[in-house]
Amino acid sequence: MRHIRTILRAAEPAGPGIRLLTLMDPDGWPLPRFRPGAHIDLHLPNGLVRAYSLCGDPAEADRWRVAVKREDAGRGGSAWLHDGLAVGGELSVSLPRCTFPLAAGARRHLFLAGGIGVTPFLSMAAALDRAGGDYLLHVLHRGAVPMPAQLAPLLARGQAVLHDTGAGRPDLAALLGPPETGVQAYACGPAGLLADFEAIWPVEQAQVEHFVPPPLAPAPDARPFTLVLARSGRSMDLPAGTPLLPALRALGAAVEASCEGGICGACRVRWLEGPPIHRDRVLKPAERATDCMACVAGCAGPRLVLDL
């Protein structure tokens, strides 16, 4: 069981082309906790995987909310989430991951949202409201406002400001003011907005969230390599630092795995050419001369040939 099984318990329109989904456990069991700014992957039935920021209050233990903007020019993920998933339907999701956290110790948080990029800031605002944190949310939008019901209380309190960009984008430096010590600024939205933000704000006081999360940085000594299965003859070119298990599964190799941390021994495979980079803690030196643990192994050479 690699995913969390959820049921769509409610869906409502939330601004232009936006559907707000409320996901819950089938029995209403609490869901794993998430940090403000975190996102989850939605695993769609057609195999697409889509990341969405959690936009509900992290203190609501039994529900996750995501807002899906319909992208008609996309590959069908958001269209299915609008038209294919009915209330009561089931959706597999990942554990929450937070690549866009609130800065610990900042005395003031400035949020810059482009359109649907407002979503992570809604979970951050809920957490800061509870903790008594100081923040201001700038929402840049063109025409109709995204998430109007969720923004209404913030607008009423003066903790959110709308900027319709139909007449041009406001000057970001003027919006944010000077980057005083203790002021952290965050941006989430289209690539152009993020680039402009990064150009005017010091990097050590900035956090940005891309709509598509960037790939994880590989280990400094990792190299790209070709994974070859000697028996089936199948192969795959892998970027530096790619974990082996998903690649083996994609190549149709039936490899057992359990701890996925290099200690249980379940995914031991014989290697023929490499050499592998051994990162397990289960094989003895003599065993490493012939075998490796696929869950944690890498490759020091251009080809890793496995006896599979």
């Binding site: 069981m1 690699r2 969390i4 099984r5 456990d25 029995d27 069991w29 609490p30 869901l31 794993p32 906790r33 940090r35 233990a61 554990l95 057992e256 359990s258 701890c259 996925e260 941390g261 200690i263 249980c264 803690r281 869950c295």
Partner: protein, 161 residues
């Protein structure tokens, strides 16, 4: 001559969860079903929804973890691992779990047989956002089969059978 047991422990905490990844829920009492598992838990055989349920294992009906191991992890690594976070069902006090593999013992009125030591899993770090995989190696608890079922309550004795 009667042999005096060398150890006598107690049930410190009880936890179950319905499905993989979901938070563990603290319980006052749990219901053990012989040959199956715990009522409402993810690894009850027949209704399994655990992370490892694709790999059936008859000896994984109930799992135990030493409260002393939580203290050792705090002492050795400075990591606060809470009883609801190790993801085993029964947190024990005063029970030498690692010595019980292959043996039978009483958990309250229930009779268990220890099948193997538990192994930590990398996915617990994902769930907890704490680096506990290494600290849990060799002190990750015990997997057991339920030979005689019944109700187990907080404070129940644990003793050799």
């Amino acid at each position: 001559m009667a042999v005096t047991p060398t150890w006598l422990g107690t049930v410190a905490h009880l936890h179950i969860t319905a499905r993989a990844f979901l938070p563990m829920r603290a319980m006052e009492a749990i219901e053990l079903i012989a040959g199956e598992g715990i009522l409402g838990d993810r690894y009850r055989i027949g209704t399994e929804e655990g992370f490892y349920s694709a790999k059936p294992e008859p000896g994984r009906q109930v799992t135990l973890f030493e409260e002393e191991a939580l203290e050792a992890i705090r002492r050795d690594h400075g990591i606060e691992l809470l009883p609801e976070e190790h993801r085993r069902n029964v947190t024990t006090r005063g029970v030498p779990l690692t010595h019980l593999v292959g043996r039978r013992f009483r958990l309250g009125d229930c009779l268990l047989e220890a099948t193997r030591l538990s192994i930590p899993c990398r996915h617990i770090e994902e769930i907890l956002d704490k680096p506990v995989f290494d600290p849990m190696i060799n002190r990750s608890g015990l997997n057991c089969r339920i030979l005689e079922g019944g109700t187990v309550r907080l404070g129940d004795p644990i003793r050799p059978a």
